[in-house]
């Protein structure tokens, strides 16, 4: 190893950061949360931390948005599958609470660019 090797490696690392790490942050910022309940449909930002209470078919559910992820805190349903789903943070991940009629998904504004097709 010679003196300028470390500088050369640093240049390579800066190349990496410049080309690959920057566009990803840009991609994250276009995501949003869509919450569908029997009464309303809400669209929320992922970046704002908050706890929501939403009225469903059989009771009130609590939803928490924090650290760019969404999770169900409390639910009146019998199996608690929606709570067991845990945190969702990627595009097109989904939390479903069928007994209470609440659906939470993470979507992207320009999803046409990243996906070929979506089946429902």
């Amino acid at each position: 190893m010679k003196k300028y090797d470390i500088i050369f490696f640093l240049v390579l690392f800066i190349f990496y950061v410049f080309f690959f790490l920057k566009p990803q942050k840009f991609k994250y910022s276009k995501r949003y949360v869509k919450i569908v309940s029997p009464e309303t449909t809400q669209i929320l930002k992922l970046s704002e931390d908050q706890i929501l209470t939403i009225k469903g078919k059989i009771g009130i559910s609590k939803i928490k948005i924090s650290n760019r992820s969404v999770e169900m805190l409390e639910s009146p349903c019998p199996n608690k599958l929606c709570i067991k789903t845990g945190k969702i943070y990627k595009e097109n991940q989904i939390i479903i609470c069928a007994p209470n009629g609440i659906f939470i998904t993470i979507e992207n504004e320009d999803k046409d660019k990243n996906l070929d097709a979506i089946t429902k």
Partner: protein, 169 residues
Amino acid sequence: MLSQNNKIAFWSLILIISSLIYYIENIIKLPIPFLRFGFSHIITLFLIFNNFSLLEILGINILKIIIGSILSGTFFSLIFYASIFSNFFSILFQYLLFYYLSKFISIYSISSAGSILNSFLLFTFLAIFIAKQINILYYYQYMYIFSFFTGLLNAFLTNLIIKKIKVKL
């Protein structure tokens, strides 16, 4: 100085060793596509650091790819063209780095930069001619790190060889 016969023996040995390594590496399939350690690159680095001319190094490399792809059955396929294209320019780049900057940087930098350029050229070739999608270049960000470390590994192995064997033609 070596005699004419010894020169022929030397070049054929170099060619056989590098094309064998190339062939064996093509047979072994790693779990991720296009992932390869590039051990045949050791021969190229060895030739560069023993002050051989650019023409000889490029000739050995192109012959290596031709023989290796005839053996593994990918002769004149798109992968064959891709590897000739990427090898040509990465060797040219490494030779120029060695020629102008070898006082400042060691074999480690030259090898890692060469392998990064090689995989980048492979991916651009893939994106333009085979997949016809630029999105594939997103996958290159993992390849960048991997090829950096394989470049370091190859440089380390070449260093061991250079210390043991010295060639003068």
